[in-house]
């Protein structure tokens, strides 16, 4: 089944063409790396996938929902199926790490918040920082909190924009292993990065190269 389908998608922002005739098909359960230099259009492509931006032209469907026809209610359903690590992390600085990670579960009105949040924080090795405010964490810890927030929902599609940018090399492998574990449970993983080291850690991953807003399968 096609989880993500982009057909002749163009995306313009402030008069500048950022994505140029993108054709992309991602099947359910695939592990995909979007690679390419800074400013190639990786982040913009991810923003289209979680509906922060919309294609200027072309067809896009996520989980079978067409971006042009999707209504507010359906969009919320789709977003609740996504786990997103934003490039700028978007943590809430006036909250603790625990509160940040619990936010998606609060939105879902779940009752097992405590167990899930503790579980994911433990796996990422930052359980001892649970009660620290986000603004007091190091950049690496903040990144881990952002990853935890995306994973805690056990999403159907995991989207991450440079998820290991601020993480020590020694810890990167552990985090990628977590992504692989998630993927093995059926989650579609789409990770944008320009770090070839982490790409090499997942031999079965599909690599999509983006440059100047155009896509090449490697």
């Amino acid at each position: 089944m096609k989880e993500i389908l982009l057909k002749n998608v163009y995306f313009k922002k402030n008069g500048r063409l950022i994505l140029d005739d993108i054709n992309l098909e991602i099947e359910t359960g695939e592990f995909v790396f979007l690679v390419g230099p800074t400013g190639a259009g990786k982040s913009s492509l991810l923003k289209l996938l979680y509906f922060e931006e919309y294609p200027t032209k072309g067809n896009m469907s996520i989980m079978g929902y067409n971006a042009k026809k999707i209504n507010k209610k359906t969009m919320l359903v789709v977003r609740k199926s996504l786990g997103i690590v934003f490039q700028d992390l978007r943590l809430l600085n006036d909250r603790t790490a625990y509160d940040n990670v619990a936010l998606p579960l609060e939105i879902d009105r779940r009752h097992d918040i405590h167990d899930r949040v503790h579980d994911v924080l433990r796996k990422l090795g930052i359980l001892h920082k649970a009660s620290s405010y986000a603004h007091s964490l190091s950049q690496g810890e903040r990144q881990k909190v952002a990853i935890a927030r995306a994973l805690v929902r056990r999403p159907r599609i995991f989207i991450a924009d440079e998820p290991t940018a601020h993480i020590y090399r020694s810890e990167k492998e552990g985090i990628i292993r977590m992504f692989m574990e998630l993927n093995s449970e059926g989650t579609t993983c789409i990770i944008a990065t320009h770090d070839n080291n982490i790409v090499d850690m997942v031999p079965y991953a599909i690599r999509i190269h983006i440059e100047d807003g155009r896509v090449d399968y490697l």
Partner: protein, 277 residues
């Protein structure tokens, strides 16, 4: 959504909005005092006018030997006249008593006459709200057109000036209330916009993580309702002062809290929807 989380949000919004509370408090006090002045002015002039309205009277003196039947028809006509609130027939005997009461030093003067010289008359209590000096002049002329009417005297014309003052006070009060609510909604909009601006990250993240509009707006609206309630209770207490001294229906006190809370709920929705889109 967990109740704790919901009220946690309300608490956070309050914490951030606290800084602007002093400003809002001072403005509210200033506006309340101004509103008081206008309400007080209106109520005061209204009371004076009402207290003196009984003084707008017309005395219609009848000629001697006016037949009874004619007097009865005339009384009936006057009763149906919209300018006349009520009327009292003063016969010769009553007129004498009135004269003795008002001019006790001239009581002996009447006894010089063979018969009571004081004319029968009608005392008319007029509706000052339907009249003005010009209409009153025409009314007097119309009364004098009756052949059996000897003279018409008017009393208490100053009530027109009072009524004019009352109308000016009322106009000023209504104008100020409109301006007051306009200013109030501007202040509310500004302070909520500031609070929302501070919460922009939360709203955006919440939205991207699949939170619906109601979940996002809810805590702001609850905070708004509480602010509206507290603010309006305070304003109502200040407003109570003129009400304590003058007679005004108590239910009017409910207008300010209701309107304030309603305004806040509307403004919150508008501002947050603007922020999301």
């Amino acid at each position: 959504m967990r109740i704790g989380f919901f009220f946690g949000e309300v608490r956070r919004i309050y914490k951030e909005a606290f800084a602007s509370l002093v400003f809002i408090g001072i403005t509210a006090l200033f506006l309340s005092v101004l509103l008081n002045l206008f309400i007080g002015g209106y109520v005061y002039t209204n009371n004076i006018t009402r207290r003196n309205s009984g003084y707008l009277k017309a005395r219609v003196y009848l000629k001697e030997d006016t037949p009874h039947a004619l007097k009865d028809v005339f009384a009936l006509m006057l009763r149906y006249n919209p300018y006349v609130d009520s009327l009292k027939f003063i016969d010769k005997k009553k007129a004498e008593m009135e004269f003795q009461k008002n001019f006790p030093e001239f009581t002996d003067l009447i006894r010089l006459f063979e018969s009571n010289p004081l004319p029968e008359n009608y005392e008319l209590f007029l509706n000052y709200k339907l009249l003005n000096p010009k209409k009153l002049g025409n009314f007097k002329k119309a009364l004098l057109n009756f052949k059996f009417v000897d003279e018409v005297y008017l009393q208490g014309l100053f009530v027109f000036r009072l009524y004019l003052l009352e109308k000016i006070a009322y106009f000023l009060l209504i104008s100020f209330i409109i301006v007051f609510f306009f200013i109030l909604s501007m202040i509310t909009r500004g302070s909520i916009r500031a609070a929302v601006e501070k919460k922009k990250d939360l709203i955006k993240v919440y939205w991207l993580l699949g939170g619906n509009t109601e979940d996002i707006i809810g805590p702001f609206q609850v905070a708004g309702l509480i602010s509206g309630l507290l603010g309006s209770i305070f304003a109502s207490l200040v407003l109570y002062l003129p009400f304590a001294f003058f007679t005004v229906p108590v239910w009017t006190l409910g207008i300010a809290p209701g309107f304030t809370m309603f305004t806040i709920v509307i403004v919150v929705r508008e501002v947050i929807e603007l922020s999301i889109n």
